[in-house]
């Protein structure tokens, strides 16, 4: 007990001594110590506070985690959408491919069906063609037999030596000339057939004659004739030539639709059957200066157009030039198509010599050639093909 109390007293005494000693020491050194407080310098000397740095890092991490939390659903949605979109696109593409394949399959099936039908049709057509050939052969045999009978009949009444040349020379005998051969009758138009055909191993082009197309037609001189018939007081005569050439452009189914053309005749070739008369005629026509008689076709007034029979009738209008003098001419014509798809043009018109500055020949006022002549044409033209032009 005494010891405890002694220690208490000793403690109090020591504490008092420490306080007194500290006060004395402070009093001794207080004039020698200067305390300067500079927070910035202190902080700079100390450097960043690690604790604050850790707190900042922690706050930043928390913020990032928070942002991540916010973005995660969006990213997940994006990934989901993306995966869903790819699947949809792939499915769409597959569906399209499938549809294309189905279409192709349908096309193939259709082609097969069409081919089968075509084969049937071709077979039917071939059979029909064979049938037509058989019919045509029968008709031909009948015609040959009929012709043979007619030829035998003719042979009994006349003997004619004929040389197989293409064109008989023009001969104007001093008597009325008998027809050499009648103009071929117009033929029925063949069925439309644009297939390329062969003829004696040659390939005939598809562009053939068409009645209902605007086309160029070239006069075939060897199958054409132009002439005139003149009357005189005592003697009538004709002048004829085959020196004729030219081209026409026309749609025969619409002959009035801007036809055009030009036909030329060589003056000096006109033949009346008498050399002296021909010479006089050439002088009248001044054939040395004006070598051609020309007709320029500029219009057609159709009276009838029979497309089925390929016949046209109407009046050709244009300008006729003789000896350099040009006059309007209207000539009624008949146009037909022969079996060789050549266009035949037959027509005649009356003209007056005086209209062209030619005085009709006269001798002592007693023997005279009439002023009026009958001008006629018998032309054949072949197609040169269709024309595509601005009318």
């Amino acid at each position: 007990m005494n010891l405890s109390r002694s220690l208490q007293y000793f403690g109090v005494a020591a504490l008092a001594a420490l306080v007194i000693g500290s006060a004395i020491a402070l009093n001794v050194v207080k004039g020698r110590i200067q305390v300067v407080v500079s927070e910035a310098e202190d902080a700079a000397q100390r450097g960043p506070d690690p604790l604050e740095l850790l707190r900042a890092d922690l706050a930043e991490l928390r913020a990032e985690i928070a942002r991540g939390d916010e973005l995660l659903p969006q990213h997940l949605q994006t990934v989901h959408d993306s995966l869903s979109g790819d699947a949809t696109t792939r499915e769409s593409a597959v569906r399209q491919e499938l549809a294309a394949l189905r279409t192709q399959l349908a096309n193939v099936e259709a082609r097969l069906e069409t081919s089968a039908r075509s084969n049937e049709a071709a077979r039917a057509q071939t059979e029909a063609t064979l049938q037509r050939f058989a019919t045509a052969l029968n008709d031909l045999s009948t015609a040959i037999a009929a012709n043979a009978a007619q030829a035998a009949e003719r042979a009994r009444v006349e003997v004619v030596a004929v040389v197989p040349v293409e064109v008989a020379p023009v001969e104007v005998a001093p008597v009325a000339v008998a027809p050499v051969e009648p103009t071929p009758a117009p033929v029925e138009p063949p069925p439309a057939d644009t297939a390329k055909k062969g003829f004696l191993s040659f390939k005939v082009p598809e562009k053939g004659f068409r009645f209902d197309a605007r086309q160029r037609l070239a006069i075939v001189p060897s199958l054409s004739r132009v002439g005139f018939d003149a009357k005189s007081t005592l003697h009538d005569f004709s002048g004829v030539t085959q020196k004729v050439e030219g081209e026409l452009v026309v749609d025969l189914s619409k002959p009035g639709d801007a036809p055009k053309g030009r036909i030329s005749v060589e003056c000096a070739s006109l033949d009346t059957g008498l050399a002296d008369r021909d010479e006089g005629m050439r002088e009248l026509l001044e054939s040395e200066k004006q070598k051609q008689i020309t007709f320029t076709w500029s219009a057609f007034e159709a009276q009838s157009v029979d497309t089925a029979k390929q016949l046209v009738q109407g009046t050709v209008r244009g300008k006729l030039a003789i000896r350099g003098v040009e006059r309007e001419l209207a000539m009624p014509v008949k146009v037909s198509v022969d079996a060789s798809k050549r266009v035949g043009i037959e027509g005649e018109a009356r003209i007056k010599l005086t209209d062209f500055g030619i005085e009709p020949p006269s001798q002592l006022g007693m023997i005279e050639v009439e002023d009026e002549l009958r001008l006629w044409i018998s032309l054949r033209a072949r197609t040169l093909g269709p024309v595509e032009e601005a009318k």
């Binding site: 197989p164 064109v167 040659f202 005939v204 004739r225 005592l234 003697h235 008498l274 060789s340 054949r380």
Partner: protein, 136 residues
């Protein structure tokens, strides 16, 4: 001079009329009363030029030439019209002649007739009359 001219024109006045009959103005297309006979192989020897082409082919072919050699070869040319410009189409091959006619190598015999110096070939597309020519 003028008087002489009129005399020349009127001198034949005493001669009978020589007017071309209106039905005889057209040109004969081809003679048909020729005594054609069936062609023999010997008729094909030589060079031929067409004098007439009738039928559908006439609308597209202006002229045809053939040269047939006895050895069995031939060459031919056709002036084809109907395009922009006329052009020659040529052929070469072997020809044979039998009971069915002339075969130009395409297996489609054509009827062949002959007369003195002439050949006539008839096929579905038309009839061509050829005159024998001398190659100069």
């Amino acid at each position: 001079m003028r008087c002489t001219l009129w005399l020349a024109l009127l001198a034949p006045a005493c001669i009978a009329p020589s007017v071309v009959d209106s039905t005889g103005r057209s040109v004969a297309i081809a003679a048909t009363d020729v005594a054609w006979r069936d062609a023999q192989a010997a008729d094909f020897d030589g060079f031929f030029e067409s004098t007439s082409i009738e039928g559908e082919a006439a609308a597209a072919i202006g002229r045809i030439y053939y040269h047939f050699a006895p050895s069995g070869t031939y060459t031919g040319a056709a002036l084809v019209i109907g395009g922009l410009e006329p052009e020659f189409q040529t052929l070469s091959g072997r020809w044979t002649h039998g009971p069915e006619g002339l075969d130009l190598g395409d297996g489609v015999p054509v009827r062949a007739s002959a007369a003195d110096g002439f050949l006539r070939l008839a096929s579905e597309g038309g009839v061509v009359t050829l005159r024998k020519q001398v190659i100069e």
